[in-house]
């Protein structure tokens, strides 16, 4: 059953609220919302961000009469995805290739994190110096 007009939380780089139509377990969104939700846009040449495009082997897996399947888009980007249709929430993880860059190629992946003022910072801001990246916690 298709249910329209549900505010859906997409947790990718940030949490974004988008209007989605739910077709069972499939969150369907207007293609114009893709960039805000996952940072990539659906174009004739494939999924694109800035000048880079990823061609799609099976475009029909993404397309739906009411828009595009957000979870299928994430999967096409090589990103793990978790859908909770009851809660209207979708979580999208980092592609395995980003982690391979660290674990196999030994190149420090960049990441956006918050500073203590709540401003978004990138780890790459500290490129050019020898540094220790220290993970700690309050727990």
């Amino acid at each position: 059953m298709t249910e329209t007009g549900h505010t859906t939380t997409v947790i990718a780089e940030d949490a974004t609220k988008v209007d989605a139509t739910w077709d069972g377990e499939r969150p369907i969104v207007d293609p114009g919302l893709l960039t805000a939700a996952v940072g990539w846009d659906l174009k004739p040449e494939g999924l694109c961000r800035d000048e880079a495009c990823i061609p799609l082997s099976d475009r029909s897996a993404l397309e739906h009469p009411d828009g595009v399947d957000l979870a299928a888009v994430a999967e096409a980007l090589g990103r793990p995805v978790l859908v909770d249709s009851d809660a209207r929430m979708v979580a999208v993880g980092a592609p395995a290739s980003d982690r391979q860059r660290a674990l196999v190629n030994r190149l420090a992946p960049d990441a956006t994190l918050l500073d203590l003022e709540g401003t978004q910072r990138r780890l790459s801001e500290w490129s050019g110096t020898r540094r220790l990246l220290v993970a700690f916690s309050s727990w």
Binding site: T9, I11, E13, D14, A15, P80, V81, L82, D84, D86, A87, M89, A91, V92, G93, A94, A96, D98, R99, Q100, A102, L103, R106, L107, A108, P109, A111, T112, L113, L114, D115, L116, E117, G118, R121, L123, S124, W126, S127, G128, T129, R130, R131, L132, L133, V134, A135, F136, S137, S138, W139
Partner: protein
């Protein structure tokens, strides 16, 4: 040095960073667990000027507060850091290969992030369900099991922590990274 707290929000981290002069960031979205396969803290990664990982994830400490428990003296690490900064010497263990995450662990981080956002939105039932899923999928990952404790009303320094530590040791202490021998 860049310190990154794997925590739910800035407010819980700010008191810990009082008086600290190096950058302190907060990883609310489990980027370090996902991208660097960090599964416990403290974890230290050495990165050079060209963004190369010179020495991967290692369980190193900034003080000897926990030496009785860990058998690790922080000075052993600091001496190696000084040698690296001075003349580029890297320790023999720098070639250690950190194992990739299993599919269950990748899914566990998604459940955890979803739970944190649900909790923040006041949806306690949704949060509880996803915290439970995350813990079941990654029972040895401290960034999930221990990090979820304060978010579910459990003391992360109380009996639940020692219980987790027992489960972790029984599984062969699967820390993802270099563990310094007791000295």
């Amino acid at each position: 040095m860049i310190a990154v707290a794997i925590d739910e929000n800035v407010d819980v981290v700010a008191p810990l960073a009082d008086g600290i002069t190096y950058p302190v960031l907060v990883d609310t979205e489990h980027r370090l667990p996902e991208l660097y396969a960090v599964n416990n803290v403290p974890t230290v990664v050495w990165i050079d000027e060209d963004d190369r990982i010179v020495r991967p994830n290692a369980n190193e400490f900034g003080s000897d507060m926990f030496t009785e428990f860990t058998g690790i003296h922080c000075e052993d690490h600091m001496e190696q850091v000084r040698a690296w900064v001075r003349d580029g010497t890297v320790p023999d263990d720098a070639g250690y290969e950190v194992a990739d995450l299993a599919d269950d662990e990748i899914t566990a981080h998604l459940h955890f992030r979803l739970a944190v956002h649900a909790r923040r939105a006041g949806r306690a039932d949704v949060a509880e369900r996803h915290f439970a899923e995350a813990k079941a999928l990654a029972p040895h990952d401290f960034t999930i099991v221990r990090a979820s404790m304060p978010l579910t009303g459990v003391d992360p320094f109380g009996p639940a922590f020692f219980e987790l530590y027992g489960v972790f040791e029984a599984a062969g202490s699967p820390y993802r990274g270099i563990r310094r021998p007791r000295s």
